[in-house]
Subunit: 208 residues, 2 copies
């Protein structure tokens, strides 16, 4: 007889499902499942319902494609945001990162990925046409490209730049340079080289 | 206006629920939730159903109190296990640990914890009376105490030993000594001291 390592297939199924999550091994999965087993049934129901509701009911904002509980997300719907400036980001985590800086008061456009022939991600798979359409409508005055400084990010930046060049819209990109608080000796040479080429007026830099 | 960090309360609820799990911070919770958001709805349903079924349907074996899908667990129900030997463990993880050694062919008794006045865990909170009852029934010839070598483990060992002393049952405890494969210089002095006091015949040790 070949009994499972777990004395219960109910337990085993739960461990199997948990260990499909990224970074969760079987040992951690077992620890989490045994923890849930010790919780009151209502608490476990709240856990599973929250995940189920999230997966089934969450929406994508029809304008910026950020996740939202409503058809138009609260950022796009807010009258206090500057609708003339659109920050283009790869994914919803990046929206959160930029929002956390509290330095940006415009709207977003979530591409849903970066162009990557290696991973089979073509421009058509991303929300690029919808960005072009937003710009075409005329209200947007500046598009800030805030993509990762990687080969895929640069390819995507260039593709969007070409697509938007027929329109009278200002296209900018986030500054690349030595991270604030970093020791200069630990900065990689490409970043350091770029930060010298893109050097800025000392007095101006204080105004930021 | 104080908007949430997340652009969706559905997302936020799911992150909140995940971050209640031990060792899962908000950052990890967000990563896990966003991963689930990318999975097909069926897969997420399978995840939530497995956890829900586990929590609502899992049982405790009426004999050994190990978790089980049936009233009597597969170990207690197995005719190939030695019903005269009962290994007393703290929790269900310890059953798995001992089973993994493939060295034990008897039955188990899961206490559900250790006596710990500091944490308010009294003997009455544990499955000690049911162990006494099992021994009282007469079939059990040996009780192996396999509790952690801690103050709580020792207290519990002693308590059970006293409770079982009226009965003609052999009471043993797992050997404590230097871990196999460990360098002697890294063994703590109490373990090393015990392993000298409990030294065994060299030829006998090869028979194991």
């Amino acid at each position: 007889m070949n009994f499972s390592q777990y004395s219960s297939t109910l337990l085993e199924n739960a461990v199997n499902e948990f260990s499909k999550l990224p970074g969760i091994g079987r040992r951690t999965a077992l620890r989490l499942v045994l923890n849930l087993l010790r919780q009151p049934e209502e608490d476990v129901d709240r856990f599973t319902s929250a995940i189920s509701a999230m997966r089934h009911e969450i929406k994508r904002c029809k304008i910026c494609h950020n996740i939202s509980d409503t058809d138009i997300c609260h950022i796009c719907a807010s009258p206090s945001r500057d609708a003339q400036t659109v920050c283009v980001v790869e994914n919803i985590q990046d929206v959160m990162s930029v929002e956390n800086t509290q330095q940006f008061h415009g709207l977003y456009h979530v591409l849903g990925g970066l162009i990557s022939p290696m991973d089979g991600i073509a421009p058509i798979d991303l929300e690029i046409e919808s960005l072009v359409k937003r710009v075409q409508e005329g209200e947007v005055k500046e598009v800030i490209l805030a993509l990762s400084p990687t080969a895929e990010g640069d390819t995507t930046n260039f593709f969007i730049f070409k697509k938007l060049s027929p329109f009278s819209v200002k296209i900018t990109t986030i500054a690349r340079g030595v991270s604030i608080g970093d020791e200069l000796e630990y900065a990689d040479e490409i970043t350091l080289g770029r930060s010298i080429l893109n050097r800025m007026d000392f007095v101006e830099s204080f105004k930021l």
